[in-house]
Symmetry: C2
């Protein structure tokens, strides 16, 4: 790709010369088994095996599965937001059928690493190890190859795995992100046993006529044995490849072919095939059902209508699931199975295989074991301890450019508030960090929702973080913390999803932050006064003056004026009406304003789950840490009505629920006293006033 | 069970005598292969095989799988609402792993048959045949056996399968409803190949010490070989059992044991074990992983920690998923996988197996193939054709006693309206038939929601019918038709879920129906005037007088007064204020009142999916069929506010959506003209008035 625009042939010829030189200088150096210096290579000159061998391989009886607890090694190249989602579906299918411990070697860019590291850390699947490798560091090794395939540069990276993976790793199964398992990967691993002494690469024959070179006039594919091989699923004997001087070998072949061919069409696959054409002894053909290829003009039916079983399906068309072929509906159903599968259910032990538990799993087990099922608040305790799987930046996202006064809107929601997103985008043109509490199935519905919304798909500055559902209580503060942790601007506006801010709020907040010279030195929480409408259709005020008119007309109220006035009373709405400049207010019991604070503000207390007291506790924490509360005279946000959530309904109807919230409050206050000592006394005193609990 | 309270021993002794007599009279008659007359039996006197054989069976290498397309036979006994849900989870796990055509033989009571027949009919899974057998007809054959097991009479019915199943059926796998597959059933079927010439019953050893008889003092289990066998999974050679005179055999043994034992403790399992103890040559022990038993004190760990693989798990404790054992969490995850699995995804073809398609599948495929993806209304067309899986009476339900004027409230909802149910139950004390549009996962959430609600779980007269989600548009009229078809009273109140009826409405409607002497002869639709509140907290009027006060105060409006007055204008609210008696109103364009009609009223037109015109079309249909529209002077129902549904939001924001609804309207009118001829002209004329479409 980097060579595009330069005289390619010349560059390729020079490289070829260099490589040939290297071959003569270093040929025969048996330094396999340790990190390989560039250019070092060995070459095995055995005569090629029968090239037609790969057509008959389906007849070989299946070898016995590997020993019960053998660790299987898998490598995947993954870059960007969309591939990260794909790889998770692949891994779900892998984990569903596996019975062996797995070690996943993930070659990732920074985006994918960030996503997948968080995901696997919170997924806590037993008997799965993860290692990351920096794809960006590997780029120079392949960036000289012009490539027309949609997978781009990352599509070529499988070529460098023998040197990129640890030198003591002898065997690995390499997978494309667009494959889905329909069987136990141990059966695939067992096929290593079929390799002859020299063979180093296991591949399934290509299930299209591409490499036959007769698809259209002047169609000139890269050289291949017959139909060639597909590299969506590869069994690699890394040890033998290193020994055979793989790096040298493929670069030599690629460079030579690029003298006459303009670019690779199918990325690494063209080069693998060209190398195999030259050194057929390298390849062990695999049974076709281990890579059933579902492109538009696939010949795969020959395979799957005769084979007793499908093992791996491969969506090897840029159209992916929208590909057209006779049985695509059935294959799609298999894929959707894992796309929508509840990943939490894969936290299954491997019986009889002693494996170190995932980090944190033991402590979690112990904490859960100490809970008493008879405790009336058991559900709350369990929910607090739950480690939710987290998929940050579920959709493509562009971080906002660094600006010293920028503000991210932070909120959380579940499926039933999805229709708020478009309105929110219209009201808040700035960056947002939103945590969504979803099942795996709902995450896919959410994806389609965004794709079909012109408003949402136009926005790259909204980061959506999926927190997967588990348990019966809404983990509101854990969600807020996920969204807060992913905000990338110096300031955050801590909002709720059923509020729409004034159209001008984003600009106004940035201007206010600048004017107040907050820039990190001053601990301030800017209060955005909150209002509500009880009508579910109303026209949003475009200014403070308009808002006041609606307020006087009784079309708007100050927020929770009827049921919970103390929640916002300290904002002092009377003063706000007249205010021309920000004014300071004092904390009072049960105060829970919507505030703008520096990103490094205290986190929300995750013990508050479900409905009740979750924001109040956070404002106490801010006050205890001596944040000034400054009300902004032109800021406002308005709550839209909605049917009460299930959690509110339970809170209202269930005395035990209310007792549990009260118990959490008490424990929170005890912790507060421990942390802040005498300074926390005022919160306890306030609590003991007969105002009643939230 | 029927014998309970009679002198059991005497009855049993008499039966024993009868059976012995039968044995001597008919012994040796080789009439297997045709329906067996009671008492006819053959007996094979071979010496018993080594009784310890079943302890060593795990070492036998697995036999080759059955031929690719061999039809596998499975029998399950299932009765009642809860077992029907269980059996569906079992069948999902079975279908997930299977690669062979299946024939399911379901022995059911009337409730289960009704549920499962609808379910399988709408599920349309390729390569699955279903046969039903009437459990009630089989009852007399086992009802004489006193049984203490929680499965009740149905637990004993596996004993009579050799005579109940078709005489030409030679082999069958018999499953309890509480087993879950974790592998391909063909592997289990293949174990028939291990049977010796005489063996007829394949069973896994019991994984508890129950039959050792040392669990407590005076613990006296039924006789068994060693630990005995568990009958949750059985391989039956029906042909051999019939030949061996099975019916005679087990009745003889059971009768004899019941002379000294008061009852069976583990239902059929006690009798199977007693027969096997006497005729050990009958049994082929199966590897333990084919029935991993998860009771409280299970010894199953010995099996699953050594076996390479779990094949079938069995929740054989009355505690089911709440059972306590070391690894229950992992097993529960496997079970939840199928409990929550989207059953639609199991509509997968078996490649390479020619099987007749499920009834209606071919026509459906053809209709779908004729749709044009480029059509702007493609989504609408596709949704109209979708056959949704339907699970009627998802929860236990008691049909209302037949009463000539009774009324069922009919409505439909999805997950986000669940919190309406409790209020609805308080407002409507009569029978309800509700269609719920849910995913499989949501159906489980719904189940827990009802279980934890005192209000909902107290009601046995509310029938919940789950219609499984598929497609992007809410199939509102299909849902209404499902709920309507399941209403069991002579009249139905066709409501919507976001309406709460007057507290008195149920009684008032029944009284009105009686007074108006409708009783089926008169085609009348009683109109229940509709109102709405825009406030999401308000106190519900307890009388018409109170309602009128609220109306005058502006706290209530007539329904859709602001946006869609023509929808209810013909109800003539001014007249209603004053009315003392029912009054007749005339149809007018766009009229869509809430009405009470006889159960056999016209169905809703399923072409209307999503938002718009779905009720209007139904009222036209009523008018065209000359239903009188009679407004009831004391009836009212009130709409509660909610955030707009996704469908309404799409309707409002998307011009294509509105165009498609308009196209559906036009087609509806064309059909109307075809049906009703000139009489339908008035609807078309009304349509052409410039009132604008819905």
């Amino acid at each position: 790709m980097l060579l595009r625009g330069r005289p390619r042939t010349l560059g390729a010829a020079a490289l070829l010369l260099l490589l040939l030189l290297g071959f003569f200088l270093f040929g025969g150096d048996p330094d396999y088994g340790r990190p390989r210096s560039q250019g070092a290579a060995t070459f095995d000159g055995d005569p090629p095996a029968d090239p037609r061998g790969h057509n008959r391989s389906d007849c070989i009886p299946p070898p016995p599965p590997p020993p019960k607890c053998e660790l299987l090694q898998v490598a995947i190249v993954c870059a960007g937001h969309n591939s990260s989602r794909d790889v998770i579906t692949l891994v779900k299918s892998l984990l569903f059928y596996r019975k062996n411990p797995l070690h996943l070697h993930l070659v990732t860019d920074a985006v994918a690493r960030n996503i997948l590291e968080t995901l696997f850390h919170t997924w806590m699947v037993p008997a799965v190890q993860i290692s990351f490798y920096n794809a960006d560091e590997l780029k120079p090794q392949v960036s000289w190859i012009p490539n027309k395939h949609y997978s781009g540069l990352y599509g070529l990276m499988k070529l460098v795995l023998p040197s990129a993976l640890p030198p003591d790793l002898a065997r690995v199964i390499v997978l494309d992100t667009d494959v889905t398992f329909a069987s136990n990967i141990a059966e695939l691993w067992a096929l290593f046993a079929h390799f002859s002494d020299k063979q180093a690469i296991g591949l399934v024959e290509n299930q299209s006529d591409w490499y036959l070179g007769n698809l259209w006039r002047n169609h000139r594919p890269w050289p291949a044995l017959g139909r060639g091989f597909n590299t969506g699923v590869i069994l690699l004997r890394l040890d033998r490849l290193r020994q055979a001087g793989w790096e040298h070998m493929w670069k030599l072949t690629a460079t030579r072919e690029l003298l006459t061919l303009p670019a690779t069409s199918l990325a690494d696959q063209d080069i693998f095939n060209a190398v195999i054409k030259e050194h057929p002894w390298l390849v062990q053909p695999l049974p076709c059902m281990w890579n059933v290829q579902l492109s538009d003009h696939t010949l795969a039916e020959r395979c799957y209508s005769e084979a007793p079983d499908l093992k791996v399906i491969h969506w090897n068309s840029p159209k992916k699931l929208r590909v057209k072929n006779k049985h695509v509906e059935s294959f799609r159903n298999l894929y959707l199975t894992f796309l929508e599968y509840d990943g939490n259910l894969l936290r299954r032990e491997l019986f009889g295989c002693p494996c170190p538990p995932p980090p944190g799993a033991e402590q979690l087990q112990q904490a859960l074991a100490q809970l008493e099922e008879q405790d009336a608040c058991f559900e709350f305790r369990q929910q607090q301890l739950t480690v939710h799987r987290v998929h940050i930046t579920f959709l493509p996202h562009k971080p906002p450019p660094p600006q010293p006064h920028d503000v991210t809107l932070v909120a959380q929601l579940s499926m039933e508030r999805l229709q708020m997103l478009e309105a929110l985008c219209r009201h808040w043109p700035g960056p947002m960090s939103l945590a969504l509490y979803l099942t795996d199935t709902e995450a896919q519905q959410f994806l389609r929702f965004v794709e079909t919304s012109a408003v949402l798909s136009a926005r790259q500055d909204v980061a959506y973080h999926v927190v997967y559902r588990e348990g019966s209580l809404y983990p509101i503060n854990q969600l807020r913390n996920v969204a807060l942790a992913q905000a990338l601007t110096p300031y955050v506006f801590l909002s709720d999803i059923d509020f729409l801010p004034a159209y001008s709020l984003y600009d106004y907040l940035r201007a206010s932050i600048e004017q107040l010279e907050l820039d990190g030195r001053r601990k301030a929480a800017l209060v955005v006064p909150a209002f509500e409408t009880l009508h579910y259709r109303f026209s949003f005020p475009s200014s403070k003056a308009e808002l006041l008119t609606l307020l006087d007309a009784g079309s708007l109220y100050t927020f929770r004026y009827h049921e919970w006035p103390q929640g916002h009373a300290p904002t002092d709405y009377a003063r706000w009406r007249e205010a021309q400049a920000p004014y300071r207010v004092q904390w009072a019991a049960d105060y829970e304003p919507y505030v703008v604070v520096p990103r490094d503000c205290p986190r929300y207390d995750p013990r508050f789950v479900g409905f009740g007291w979750n924001k109040v506790a956070h404002i106490i924490e801010l006050d205890a840490q001596e944040y000034e509360l400054l009300v902004l005279p032109e800021a406002f946000t308005i709550h839209l009505p909605h049917a009460p959530s299930l959690d509110i309904a339970r809170f209202r109807s269930n005395p035990t629920y209310r007792d549990c919230v009260r118990a959490l409050k008490d424990e929170f206050h005890q912790d507060l006293s421990r942390h802040y000592g005498a300074a926390a006394l005022k919160y306890l005193t306030a609590l003991q006033q007969p105002r009643g609990p939230a």
